[in-house]
Amino acid sequence: MPEQRKPPAGSASTDPPGSAPENVAVIDATTPQDDRPRGLRARHPLLVYIVVRLGVSVLLILGVTLITFILTNLVPSNPAASALGERASSDPAAVAAFNAKYGLDKPLPQQYVIYLSRLAQLDFGDSTQTHNPVAKDLGSAFPATAELALTALTIASVLGVGLGLWAALRQRKFVDQAVRVVSIIGISTPTFWLALIVYYLFFYKLGWFPSSGRLDPQFNPPKDHTGFYTIDALIAGRPKVFWNAVGHLILPASVLVLYTVGLLARFARTAVLDVLGSDYITAARAKGLSARRVTFGYILRGALLPILTVVGLTFGSLLSGAVLTETVFAWNGLGQYAFKAATTLDLQAIMGVGIVVGVTYIAINFVVDLLYGVIDPRVRNR
């Protein structure tokens, strides 16, 4: 164990001591290949990296639309019937007009192109439930979910990374096991149930926090700038609304934090432990740097990439969790909207939610990739 070392590539370190240096020479005689990138890649590595990642994201988004398109066409029922409702669908002229409008009388590939061009104009069809264009509904639901998910993500990341770092540095069996069990319980808890329990306890029984919704009924939502009530309230200079919005955020956000923090802590701990065992941390300590400097300048820096990856992934599970949590808290975001749409079989609305969430998820991963490029010098400049 103490003498364990990474065998350097092609060297004779595993040979018994005193083995012939000539051996080493033979093995190492292969000249190192020049695999340095040339051309554009060499001059603007970051730019090329970004363009490639962007291309992948665009392809994925196309794939997402393909899935929703196929699913929409999978539905055995007549789309005209479901979109127009009972009465209108009995009128053949209305059905024909509907089919012509959405190109449903054309072959499938052509329909897909029409579908895409409609999506490009942010036309997601109309909701049978709210009778609004789906795009409009999504426009008001999305910021609500984003506010909730981002709040939870921020709190969970700070808490989770902090806990993980602490657990890794303590290296105590007890702490280890505790982080492990808590993280497993966290991912094992049905979010919708946890939301209900939290709501019951802290609103209904204890009355510590306001009830469901995003604001108390006596407040009007602040003028819409970002769609985030907290930020909009600050912009509008209405502190009372701001604090009320914060109060309403606390419970649903806590549910999402409880759900993800254990997992984050665990991944952060593993990432930090990996870094702790590396030579460059030993080297940093051997330089006599203070524990603080080693921890924040070297250890966290080294663990940043895996932690970033996990934070990105966590956003995905937060979106899932939000869908299930919003229903309980009557938080009129994407989840609540999707829930209502699903229970009333409002297909256009559900597909709209699917596309928005899918695209958001892809966008988040793209941002994570970008941050990789910014943080990791090996990506930034080769």
Binding site: P2, A20, D279, A286
Partner: protein, 295 residues
């Protein structure tokens, strides 16, 4: 164990460590003056992890201005000895015995006190420079942060000093190198950077753990010459930990051979290589294909 141990007969020439003035100090007026040292004296060092006795009574003297080689195969405890000097043994390890640096006892020294010695008085370089330099921090940062910490230099002064150091260890275009990252260098260049970083605070002792093992043979010689130069010109005492007897015999003044956590043989390079007393040493030397490692 003790009867087979050969301590060098003649008292160690301590003068060597006192004479020289570090060029790095000479060029940088704000640097702390180099302090003379008697070197490191290890006696009866024991280290236990769980039930495993990793070090079982190590005795070793590493004076300044000399290269003291520690040889032995994997698991013999040679690397752990080097790490324990710096207090970098695993946190679960139980250490007893004595490591003296001048009049200071390093075993059981508090972390804060150790940090004052690490990097400033006793520095270290490691086997694989691609692993021992932080992949995400620039060379400039890694060459200056401990200088600023120990010597209280400003950012600019520290960068000046780093540039000079890189020049000393013959890294091409030192000023540009400061802005680069480890992955942009070859292994040999990186080891030079690592040496520069180790030398940055004018240490009196340098622990070199397999400094050439991960490098191409063509590059090895250059690094070995560099280390020898540090010892001869700057009077730094070097503890060279390696399994490679060929490297050992080309660099070390005295050699300690370790096995099973003990020093089984200790003597001048010539004596240990030419007339090994311990059967284990003999077998090590015999395993060299044609004894050509001895120069």
């Amino acid at each position: 164990m003790s009867e087979s141990q050969q301590f060098p007969g003649a008292p160690i020439d301590l003068d060597k460590g006192v004479v020289t003035v570090s060029p790095a100090t000479a060029t940088s007026s704000t640097a702390a003056p180099a302090c003379a040292t008697d070197g490191i004296r290890i006696s009866g060092l024991r280290l236990k992890i769980g039930t495993a006795q990793i070090l079982d009574g190590v005795d070793l003297v590493a004076p300044a201005g000399q290269v003291t080689g520690v040889a032995g195969e994997s698991g013999s405890g040679k690397t752990m000895t080097g790490m324990t000097i710096l207090g970098l043994q695993p946190p679960t390890a139980q250490v007893s015995g004595s490591i003296r640096y001048d009049d200071r006892e390093l075993v059981g020294l508090r972390e804060r006190e150790l940090n004052k010695l690490r990097g400033k008085h006793i520095a270290a370089i490691f086997q694989d420079p691609t692993a021992s330099l932080h992949p995400m921090l620039s060379i400039g940062t890694q060459l200056t942060d401990h200088v600023r910490h120990h010597l209280k230099l400003s950012r600019r002064e520290a960068r000046e000093r780093a540039t000079e150091l890189l020049e000393k260890v013959r890294v091409p275009e030192p000023r540009a190198a400061l802005g680069k990252y480890p992955h942009q260098f070859s292994g040999g260049q990186l080891q030079r950077v690592a040496i520069a970083s180790a030398l940055a605070c004018d240490p009196r002792m340098l622990i070199a753990d397999e400094p050439t093992t991960a490098l191409d043979v063509t590059v090895q010689a250059g690094i070995l010459r560099l280390l020898r130069g540090l010892c001869d010109d700057l009077g730094i005492g070097i503890i060279l930990v390696t399994h490679d007897l060929a490297v050992m015999s080309s660099l070390a003044d005295t050699i300690a051979v370790m096995r099973h956590g003990k020093v089984v043989e200790f003597g001048s390079r010539y004596d240990v290589i030419r007339t090994p007393q311990h059967p284990y040493t003999r077998s090590l030397i015999d395993s060299l294909p044609d004894h050509q490692g001895v120069r």
